[in-house]
Symmetry: C2
Subunit: 195 residues, 2 copies
């Protein structure tokens, strides 16, 4: 087999491991913890269906690819809970190292392409990146909301902490942030999320 | 909330259930059974990385969306093992019913759009559909090959049966079928797949 195809297949088999990286979010119906691959799949379909709510026109194929690959680094770096201040401190360094190892399995042109896409997502500057991040916030919010906010209760987070992250959804979609705000207010009123 | 957005969110929450539909394929490293959402995520990234091997030029964004949504009907219809003749008989009917129920949760324009995409995949006629099907065959083959063909052994399938399905990969990608053939021959030689 030609070296190029062998490298592509090596990468493809490597990322299978993302299915074993479990997140703090639980599936709807008070299900088990969700893994990164499922989360990325869900985000990609959401991006496609909700693109009309993006603040700016987006290249939706690019958003979808960002959603699909944004957590591959967690194969080495692990999942960092969005409301874990200690984990967040070392996250960047762990993920940079993982990025180099994992994407280097690919042929050089595809390595550069996927790293550029990952970096664009991380840099949070383009319209596509902001909308993909909105999905990254909104997807677990919908699941957690369907489970009466169980993930917030488990980690004893406050509404201020949750708003600190979720408010950035407005950078990608003002409308979806309004919905986020409405959902959070309902859960605060019901006592699912402490003030 | 406007009715349109409510319908979109209802559909998004409904498809979370795809993460509970488990397949016969096992994750690499002799892992647990794979679920449909993970399988779809993996296929979508594979399609993007392997598009240069498609027989014809494909609209890769369309292929990716086909990969992402092609198993949503299994939320109701369940997974039908590729080498289960009894299950395959009733598969079409079960999946048609599921298609109507699940996609009808969406606003009408998006319902039509996703059903058209699903039907295009099922009809196996366009270049995009053929390449998406090649991914649907090649993805579990790579996992099963990495696990010494354990899934074939578990179901006691013969190489004729496996070739019956896998040969259709050539309709989407002659090169990836050559690789498929090479992998199958290696497993036959090692006794992982019976003649």
């Amino acid at each position: 087999m030609e070296k190029r195809l062998q490298k592509q297949l090596d990468f493809i088999l490597e990322i299978d491991k993302e299915k074993n990286i479990f997140r703090q979010t639980h599936l709807s119906g008070h299900g088990r913890n969700e893994n990164d691959a499922e989360h990325a799949w869900h985000m990609a379909i959401m991006a496609y269906l909700l693109k009309e709510y993006a603040n700016e026109e987006v290249d939706i194929a690019k958003v979808i690819m960002m959603c699909l690959i944004h957590d591959i680094v967690e194969i080495d770096a692990g999942d960092t809970y969005a409301y874990d201040p200690e984990g967040l401190k070392s996250q960047k360094e762990r993920e940079e190292k993982a990025k180099k190892r994992i994407f280097s399995l690919l042929p050089d042109d595809q390595k550069k392409e996927l790293i550029a896409l990952f970096d664009e997502f991380e840099n949070y500057e383009t319209a596509e990146s902001k909308f993909a991040h909105a999905m990254d916030n909104f997807q677990p919010l919908l699941l957690n909301s369907s489970n009466d906010g169980g993930d917030w209760k488990e980690h004893d987070v406050s509404s201020d902490t949750v708003y600190g992250r979720q408010k950035k959804t407005a950078l990608g979609s003002k409308r979806l942030y309004e919905v986020t705000d409405q959902i959070l207010q309902e859960h605060i009123a019901k006592g699912h999320l402490k003030k």
